[in-house]
Subunit: 450 residues, 2 copies
Amino acid sequence: MFATLKFAALLLAVVVCWATQDYDYNDAEIDEEPTLGDSPYGSLWPLPQKVQISTVVFKLSGASFHIFDAKESSSGASCRLLQNAYRSQLVYKDEYGAKSINRTDIHDFPRFAHRGLLLDTSRHFLPIKVILANLEAMAWNKFNVFHWHIVDDPSFPYLSRTFPQLSQHGAYQGIRVVPEFDTPGHTQSWGKGQKDLLTPCYSGASPSGSFGPVNPMLNTTYDFMSMFFKEVSTVFPDAYVHLGGDEVNFSCWKSNPDIQKFMEQKGFGMDYSKLESFYSQRLLDIVTTTNKGYMIWQEVFDNGVKADSLIHMWKGNQQQYQAEMMRVTASGYQTLLSTPWYLNRISYGQDWQATYKVDPQNFNGTDTQKKLVIGGEACLWGEYVDATNLTPRLWPRASAVGERLWSDRDVRDLNDAYSRLAKHRCRMVQRGIPAEPLFTGYCAHEYKGV
Amino acid sequence: MFATLKFAALLLAVVVCWATQDYDYNDAEIDEEPTLGDSPYGSLWPLPQKVQISTVVFKLSGASFHIFDAKESSSGASCRLLQNAYRSQLVYKDEYGAKSINRTDIHDFPRFAHRGLLLDTSRHFLPIKVILANLEAMAWNKFNVFHWHIVDDPSFPYLSRTFPQLSQHGAYQGIRVVPEFDTPGHTQSWGKGQKDLLTPCYSGASPSGSFGPVNPMLNTTYDFMSMFFKEVSTVFPDAYVHLGGDEVNFSCWKSNPDIQKFMEQKGFGMDYSKLESFYSQRLLDIVTTTNKGYMIWQEVFDNGVKADSLIHMWKGNQQQYQAEMMRVTASGYQTLLSTPWYLNRISYGQDWQATYKVDPQNFNGTDTQKKLVIGGEACLWGEYVDATNLTPRLWPRASAVGERLWSDRDVRDLNDAYSRLAKHRCRMVQRGIPAEPLFTGYCAHEYKGV
């Protein structure tokens, strides 16, 4: 995708937040100190692939400058994509407050095709309003995949009638919606509404009353999954569905005498990862009949399932995930990176910098292998997040991932990024998203809410 | 302060959030798991000193149950203290939704007299609305001192006309307002408006153009401080002012030849902490003439100043601050603890637990020494905090400090606290404060904002 944007076509008299950052740093002992200097790229975020800003400045008068949609235009005012493009990041106020723009040539396209963000609606309730506001912010940061971790152990808030505007249209402002239905683990909430779906755990010779992962030995399990994913395939139009497959705890399966017999019959010995693969392979075959592609967490690959899947990295330290990406791509699978982008994990200070330094193609492999990395996803798991704190925890930290997935691999100057990101976060604040501050400073238009 | 509250006088038909927590924990590998069990004390927070809840239940009808202020009442509807007391945490809904209360006897008083919260309006702008909302939440959590870190290096937002309702009245809902004017360090912003107040730093033989701490050798410095603190003493009616005194960097003083000569004249040798003490002692003498008491950060004590001050702990690890509290109280000074309660420092997970486990009197010392600990303060420094994220970052984490400072020292059962605090945070959410979740779960009345 190439887009050539000439300055003149894209201007609109929109007040853009152009915050003058003015700091004094004198307690070096306790504060982290980013080196401040104004970026030559102003507030652009994520940085376009190629941008040349000339010194030729044009002043814009709200009274005389307008953008008209031509009468014969087939898109016009109803085209959200164009309307959003008009809110150009290039307009700024000069020292006298006059709206200004420099003559600018931009050639732009994304480095990675898959630029995702995971939100988790199982561990806490998220109002639709909050999800929609964050989808809007995703668009500003050029994310194009909403990975909806819709259900998990704590709750099962999937009901197609509940979210008609998301599940029927399946896309919002150019953002794909990929739902995740994670099995066979993380399914406690499924068991409450579907009898015999989960494996009964045993305590000694008798059932303990608790339940483990999906029961992989029953035909009824696969009948249920067939019907369920057939419905899901019609509710969500995207070409992919995320099938999870992470963190399957074998202890319950091991405790169950019927499962033990099944393992013997199948010749799996004591290797329960073979049982997991048995389940996963049958599930993938079922989903294939719905004409969907699928993404799976890396364990499904680790356990040896054979399928044309997109493998999603989430485990390990840097050395471990880079080795895993080498193995996955050497096997010819496409892959997505999330391990270093678990934004639910917080720490004191400017943790966006570590997020920003990551490069998804930084592992040992051939050029062919590197091309199998189709992108990544920032993940905000929901254990400690609900509507009270989701938005400021997500932005502008996710913006760092947004630029890494969009801009050229050589765009990695932390000081330049800091200067642009501080302005970009002020712009988000001005547009109503309570994006938290990077460090001491102020915006021309501060957030006024509680 | 003793208060005996009998149930009957305190009821009002207020809908209280009584959230039923209902969790499934099955991924022990990744989630921290508090042991859930309903507290026998319901949603009470902080726990009263003595509380006996009987099994005798009364049903309250909104139609027939009212509280009237007697005609001859001198307080009545205009008394906020009573009106707030009516919003009793003891009312709950039974399984049929009926408002109910158990016959309950409460004897209550605070363990510590000083239960403070520091907010920092220098490093980021905080709208008055946000400060007032958090003062309201402070009252719910029985904090009684707002330590206002009003100015610092980055900005000087003190102007008595700017905050008339805070600075004129100086108290809000029973909360004292103690302003901090931190000198001689942390004063970069002062220098911008007051010529010759700060020390000119030298680079070799000539001034470098930058400035260091307040200049302690000029009489004009003390003239300025006399006039300034005289005004402050009239603007803020509280009996105390916080004088700061932390983190004085000596490098600028050391570079300045005039300061070097002054050190020689005074016989301070190369010990710049003596110069700092010289300044501090003169400042304390000045403030004494305004009939105010003062609080100071622990360095002022460390540097040997002699004065009847309240020493505020903020440095070191647990072993270090406990040793310092032993020294400070052995010298007969009163002290306040903040070191383990820097709530600006965040980490992943339930960090309220570490906050809650702290006991301010846990150090080696006599009973007389222990009594010199008059309380503590939770501190939310402003480097990474503004109106976008302040409130959910503060609550319910500060509530843990609130209970530690109010309730008996033996109130330290983490599971009981978790159960009550989860309900207390739901109550704050229902009242409009976006207090963040402790862990996976839900409230009967979730936060609806972005």
